[in-house]
């Protein structure tokens, strides 16, 4: 069984090293400040005991007041996983740092989020539309997009 790492334990372990970067934690996972996401992910990817070397998926959900990005990381070595979330507030000019430099698996998925939800990923090498045609207006997976 893949063990789900408790967000509370992780927050307690990382608080001294990354002060203020974990905003909330629960048994299900952690919510982090988007500015420290890359630093935190880089640490969790290599630090012994975590070694979360596999990014299962990244997706985003529109909650009107904010967009929540959800990452699921797994360690193939330890067979444990961790849910990391981050939020960006507002409706326009949304940016989140890209994880492509650490996990290339995020490449197409971040492009998809940019395309369908309109969140820009800073540092992504090629953030062009992936499914919609160039010049398509709007972001269909947003809740205020009427299909």
């Amino acid at each position: 069984m893949t063990q789900t790492l408790s967000g509370k334990d992780i927050a307690a372990k990382l608080e001294t090293q990354f002060p203020g970067s974990i905003l909330e934690s629960s048994e299900a996972g952690i919510l982090v400040n988007s500015q420290t996401l890359v630093k935190l992910a880089a640490y969790l990817k290599t630090a012994s005991g975590f070694e979360l070397d596999y990014l299962n998926y990244v997706t985003a959900v529109d909650y009107y007041d904010y967009f929540e990005l959800v990452y699921l990381f797994t360690s193939l070595k330890h067979n444990h996983s961790l849910v990391v979330k981050t939020r960006c507030y507002g409706r326009e000019n949304l940016t989140v740092p890209s994880l492509v430099s650490l996990y290339r698996g995020a490449d197409y998925q971040e492009r998809e989020i940019n395309d369908l939800l309109g969140i820009k990923f800073e540092g992504h090498p090629n953030l062009r539309p992936i499914f919609l045609w160039e010049g398509f207006e709007g972001h269909p997976l947003r809740k205020d997009f009427l299909a």
């Binding site: 299962n56 998926y57 959800v70 193939l76 290339r104 490449d107 197409y108 539309p129 499914f131 045609w133």
Partner: protein
């Protein structure tokens, strides 16, 4: 005298037999050697994730059929597991076994197409794939018995399966399971040591293990690179912890390894089917679940080892009859991430088989 040559851009697809659907590969060529490559998607984008937000939880099951339409049973299973996790619904014993039987039959059917189409790409045009379609046809007959459909089955339901299998299903499945190993032996006799296949596929399109993990590859693509990771073993769902089977892996991660892992996985699926046939109990095939499921507010992610890799559904519920958000973790899309790395430096003819060896379904890539 030196000749000045211009780089040449070649469009492969979107409608090309070797792109296995409507995918466009933009290749930059130097002579016949590919120096850069870009995949262009979106030709089959139907917005299934958006459509799901406007349908009831049960009404989404037919949509999942249309993701990877060569493995509709697997999609049904992943989605139903996800809703069951979200709503805390249990499934009767017999339904668990029927689901495993369908999922493993589907794996064999999908791998048969993958291997057959791959050999088509290699230049063994139409002969090997007809052997494989012959066996796939028997699986489709079994699915037709159970669900009435041959491609988009819509067979599984939240809390079980739509209906129990008819009387003649289990005897027909026993016959299939008894006959299939001989057919796989036949493929091996024809192909495993075939000089053309070895020359075309050995050492071609190598995906190193480290890169395979970094791009979040899954399924046979990941295992062919030597990473022993199978969700049926690593994070068993339904009742996979009751069955004995091995995880075949490759060594170098070339096209031949990916082909070989799929053939070996078919043998393991037969092993699972045999055990499931011995153990399957009588009883109800579906638990009492209301037509309109209203899961409590929250979120759930459930995943399965689909024929093409990790297939998962991330669902968010706001207690209404439709999901607030339905994200599909599509293995076909993510497995393509490293295609450029695998293809650059090879010739056009090799690019076709490297692309084919990944085994994608555009219905799942574009969604």
């Amino acid at each position: 005298m030196t000749l000045k040559t211009e780089p040449f851009v070649l469009n492969i697809g979107p409608a090309h037999p070797s792109t296995h659907g409507v995918c466009r590969l933009k290749a930059r060529l130097d002579g016949e050697v590919i120096t850069d490559l870009e995949c262009v998607f979106g030709y089959l984008h139907r917005g299934i994730e958006k459509l799901a937000e406007e349908r009831t939880y049960t009404g989404i099951i037919p949509l999942t059929d249309r993701l990877d339409y060569l493995a509709a049973m697997s999609n049904n299973l992943a989605y139903c597991l996800s809703v069951e996790k979200l709503a805390g619904i249990t499934v009767p014993e017999r339904a668990h076994y029927l689901r495993v039987i369908m999922a493993e039959l589907q794996r064999i059917a999908s791998h048969l197409i993958a291997v057959g189409a791959f050999l088509n790409d290699c230049g063994a045009f139409m002969t090997p794939i007809l052997y494989m379609l012959r066996e796939r046809e028997k699986i489709l007959d079994l699915f037709e018995m159970a669900s009435g459909q041959r491609l988009t089955y819509n067979y599984m339901r939240i809390g079980g399966v739509s209906q129990d299998v008819p009387e003649e299903f289990l005897p027909a499945l026993t016959k299939f399971v008894d006959e299939m190993p001989a057919h796989i032996d036949e493929y091996d006799r024809l192909l495993a040591e075939n000089e053309i296949l070895l020359a075309r596929a050995k050492g071609v399109g190598i995906l190193p293990a480290e890169l395979a993990v970094n791009i979040s590859a899954g399924g046979p693509v990941l295992r062919a690179s030597g990473v022993r990771w199978d969700i049926r073993k690593a994070d068993p769902y339904t009742i996979y912890d009751r069955f004995q089977f091995d995880i075949p892996t490759g060594t170098v991660g070339d096209c031949y390894d990916r082909y070989r892992v799929r053939v070996l996985e078919m043998r393991q699926s037969i092993r699972i089917l045999k055990q499931a046939l011995e153990q399957i109990p009588a009883g109800p095939s579906r638990s009492a679940v209301p037509q309109l499921v209203r899961p409590p507010a929250g979120e759930a992610y459930a995943r399965i080892e689909a024929p093409k890799g990790e297939l998962g559904f991330y669902l968010v519920s706001d207690t209404s009859i439709a999901p607030y958000r339905c994200h599909i973790r599509a293995p076909s899309l993510i497995n393509l991430t490293a295609l450029r790395d695998m293809i650059v430096g090879w010739k056009i003819a090799d690019a076709i088989i490297i692309f084919g060896s990944i085994d994608i379904c555009m219905g799942e890539v574009d969604r």
